[in-house]
């Protein structure tokens, strides 16, 4: 007993080191595995507050550029309004469109913090659960894919952008319609990789990559980027380097996409999977 105590006294610093290290690694593992960690939820409100102060300052300095963007967008929208169209038919009745239902809904948000030069980059936006922004919603900017919301507190949400080593999304080649996966291997923040497209499908520099619409994160045909070059050193699949349309260094206004049918689609898939699992057991 005395020996054990003496031993403890000798090594208590090292034991303390191991204890604290274990605690830190637990945080790290738990926080990577689960979508919404309690820990982040509580903290991101005040950290987000500090970041949004800073974002306000830097936004002020860039007001001119933002004005240009907005007025360009205004011009485009204005030219799309009905009164700018000259009607070919004169016998137009009132039309009520019953053949379509709205599926995707867009909300605006402002970026208050973003990192681009890490392996695991994150973007903080200033909308959270109070603005109906929740985990697993897609984020786009200027018609380009940005990322997916990973967790939301009341006023802020953390987005996992394409430039995060764990990001994965289903995309396709616009020309041939072939499906692949969008990932990021680190390094250049403008270059992402498209993998899993077999070699027999032709890919050329300058081809457009868009989202496939298979996942519930993004609608189909959201622009991802342009093929920069193709690496064919692997035997079966292309490794396509894509220059992304969005500039992660200068993001400030983004749109959060919510899929109104998401729940329905997920529940249906779950139900079928459960049925199959039950059948398998029998």
């Amino acid at each position: 007993m005395k020996n054990i105590l003496a031993l403890l006294r000798r090594f208590y610093i090292f034991l303390l080191f191991l204890g604290l290290q274990a605690l830190a690694l637990t945080f790290l593992v738990r926080n990577n595995r689960f979508h919404t960690s309690e820990f982040i939820q509580h903290s991101s409100d005040w950290v987000g507050g500090i970041y949004s102060q800073r974002a306000q300052l830097s936004e002020y300095l860039r007001l001119g550029e933002i004005n240009d963007q907005l007025s360009l967008e205004n011009a485009l929208l204005r030219s799309a309004t009905p009164e700018n169209y000259w009607h070919l038919r004169t016998d137009v009745d009132t039309l009520r469109d019953t053949t379509t239902l709205q599926r995707y809904y867009y909300r605006t948000a402002k970026v208050v913090n973003a990192s681009v030069n890490r392996e695991k980059n994150y973007i903080t936006i200033d909308r959270g659960t109070l603005g109906d922004v929740r985990a697993d919603m897609g984020v786009i900017a200027g018609g380009n894919i940005v990322g997916v919301v990973r967790s939301a507190s009341e006023h802020f949400a953390i987005v996992m952008p394409v430039i995060h080593s764990d990001f994965k999304a289903s995309v396709r080649l616009k020309r041939s319609g072939a499906f692949g996966s969008l990932v990021w291997a680190g390094g250049d923040a403008q270059l992402a990789d498209v993998i899993d497209i077999p070699k027999n499908i032709p890919v050329a520099q300058g081809d457009t990559i868009v989202t496939s619409g298979y996942s519930t994160f993004f609608p189909a045909n959201v622009h991802v980027g342009i093929v920069d070059w193709v690496d064919d050193s692997d035997n079966d699949y292309h490794l396509i380097k894509v220059r992304m349309g969005v500039d992660f260094r200068r993001l400030d206004h983004v749109l959060v996409v919510s899929d109104i049918f998401k729940e329905e689609q997920d529940t249906l898939l779950n139900k079928v999977e459960q049925q199959d699992a039950a059948n398998g057991k029998r």
Partner: protein, 174 residues
């Protein structure tokens, strides 16, 4: 005593904010050089701080930094490692007559050569731990080594310049 404590707390808060709001925003060569200057707060703890306390302070400094940047636990883990090593490095580098325990490890007090060795070894240890934990794969090993060495150098240069700016007079209590 109370003054030492409050000065250290203010220094920690200031450096973490400086790191999050300014230094982390600077893009050098696509992130090849990424200095983490907030560890200056741990390096500057007085010599008399007990070892267990150095580690606890390091733990909380790391946790605070994690709230600002990326996954919780990454900085915490690297800082605890730094806090564990710091007294060991101090012991190895101790001058013959020992340390004046009420003092802090500054260039002015200990000399430039001593300071660069002390801060250099600890910064390298912290950065290596951090960057390898962050990446967790050794495929681009050479790039990572390059990345760590350049970032360590940048952190060291920034911290040394900071010292000359802040601790100009020997009587400074900051």
């Amino acid at each position: 005593m109370l003054q030492t404590v409050s000065v250290n707390i203010i220094r920690i808060l200031f450096l973490v904010l400086l790191q999050a709001l300014v230094v982390s925003r600077v893009q050098l060569f696509d992130g090849l050089i990424f200095p983490w200057v907030y560890i200056f707060a741990i390096l500057m703890l007085p010599f008399e701080t007990p070892r267990w306390m150095v580690m606890f302070i390091a733990f909380f400094v790391g946790l605070l930094m994690d709230y600002f940047s990326g996954p919780i636990g990454l900085h915490t883990s690297s800082c605890v490692f730094l806090g564990y090593l710091q007294p060991i490095v101090q012991k190895i580098l101790a001058p013959r007559e020992g340390y004046d325990l009420t003092q802090r490890p500054t260039v002015q007090r200990m000399g430039l050569a001593w300071y660069v060795t002390y801060a250099g070894v600890l910064t390298l240890a912290h950065h290596s731990w951090f960057f390898f934990m962050e990446v967790f794969r050794f495929s681009d090993f050479l790039y990572q080594v390059f990345h760590i060495l350049l970032s360590t150098f940048a952190t060291l240069v920034l911290m040394t310049i900071g010292q000359y700016l802040i601790y100009n007079s020997k009587s400074s209590q900051l």
